[in-house]
Amino acid sequence: MAEQKVKLLGFWVSPFAYRVIWALKLKGVDFEYIEEDIFNKSPLLLQLNPIHKKVPVLIHGDRVICESYVIVQYIDETWPQCPLLPQHPYERAMARFWADFAEAKLLNIAWLGLCARGAEREKAAKLAIEAVEKIEEVVKGKKLFGGESIGYLDICLGWISYWLPVWEEVGSMQIIDPIKFPATSSWMNTLLHHPVIGDNLPARDAMIEYFKKRSKDLYELDWFKDIIRLHLHP
């Protein structure tokens, strides 16, 4: 099974797609990358992921896997070299716990903060900082969440090292203060200098342009404003 052809449907600026790219590259798995225009979804995407209609989608032989955390665990279980999840069940559970935490309490919040305005944006930044305070305690004293080498949690949280600073800049928010969060800042730096991560990142200038426009466009939508209000009611 492991020798079957691997394809990845992604979007150039998606932090979720990059989790999968990093996992595949760390494992040395050859794959074909297919760029998807998420604003003009292809019949292929709609056929492969009819439920969520989102990237990333991993195609392995005739198998289709969706949802980045599910895909990364699939990759880890299919190709045993360079293990991503820790060996011990408790450590594995903690990695899964913190990955879920960061997704709900930091990524989703920071993203809403980027798109929000005024008091709601301030609330997002405040909540995001509270989340980083907890993450700081987890990474303190470690080179990487995975210890000496990159692991599952580094991959799941890797967006913090590169996407979050872009969102901070575009959204005029400060979430990662290097003085307040020295361990997290050091980890971000270590990650960016890792060849697999550092060599596999979208162009920063293009990201800034993209997120400037995207956040503005989303804020025009009533349904999105409702979501912001729901999560960030001051």
């Binding site: 439920i51 392995h60 198998r63 896997i65 969706c66 949802e67 955390y69 599910v70 895909i71 665990q73 699939y74 279980e77 299919t78 069940p89 408790y90 594995r92 559970a93 903690m94 899964r96 716990f97 879920d100 935490f101 907890k134």
Partner: protein, 226 residues
């Protein structure tokens, strides 16, 4: 003190479906454990100590180490106690089980809650969304007896509780959630699953749960009126 030595302790709440699915996992694995009831909404010092991040049940304490988040706990239980496996062996089937558990938690459960707690147009829309998402979930059965195949597995215990709560919620909130015509296979599966002795014996007392659901609904309706 909870979790001394090799002991397993579960901090839960009698009406919580999330604690229930952990109980099911422990039951299937035949793990002896001490159950400690949290008297919500008051949170014990032990809960706050063991789950400072979310301050919620369920919390599993094993060999003195706490774990939170029910699906994370269930995977842990599956990895520590290897007999009667919950997740399938094959990575692809494991991925599918995880995908669908996430789908149910993110797409079915919030819709069910909205259908229960809203009124009028909002309620009707939420109920329709729930019915459609349950229809989508039904496709994951793939003609099998249970999501786990011949026997119940991870996905069965992850989503099975919805059958019990949805029936209660639809009675109290007066809106259809389980449409047997729309989801014939899932309806049969809900029934079969909830009748299994190992599953049924862990369910909270149904009359007490109904009262609790009615109280909760009353509270929510009063909040919408003010």
């Amino acid at each position: 003190m909870a979790g001394n030595g090799d002991g397993v302790t579960l901090l839960g709440y009698w009406a919580s479906p999330y604690a229930l699915r952990v109980k099911w996992a422990l039951k299937i694995k035949e793990v002896q454990y001490e159950y400690m009831e949290e008297h919500l909404p008051d949170k014990s010092p032990m809960l706050l100590q063991y789950n400072p991040v979310h301050k919620k049940i369920p919390v599993l304490v094993h060999k003195g180490k706490p774990l939170a988040e029910s699906l994370v706990i269930i995977e842990y239980i599956d990895e520590v106690w290897k007999h009667n496996p919950l997740l399938p062996q094959d990575p692809y089937h494991r991925a599918k089980a995880r995908f669908w558990a996430k789908f149910a938690d993110e797409k079915c459960v919030p819709a069910m809650f909205r259908a229960f707690s809203k009124v009028g147009e909002e309620q009707a829309q939420a109920a329709e969304e729930l019915r459609e998402n349950l229809k989508t979930l039904e496709s994951a059965l793939e003609g099998k007896q249970y999501f786990g195949g011949e026997t119940i597995g991870f996905l069965d215990i992850a989503v099975g509780w919805i059958g019990c709560w949805a029936r209660m919620n639809e009675e109290v909130a007066g809106v259809n959630m389980i449409d047997a015509e729309m989801i014939p296979l899932l309806s049969v599966w809900f029934q079969k699953f909830l009748e299994l002795p190992i599953i049924k014996e862990c369910l909270p007392p149904q009359d007490k749960l109904l009262e609790h659901t009615k109280e909760f609904h009353k509270m929510l309706m009063m909040a919408t009126l003010t």
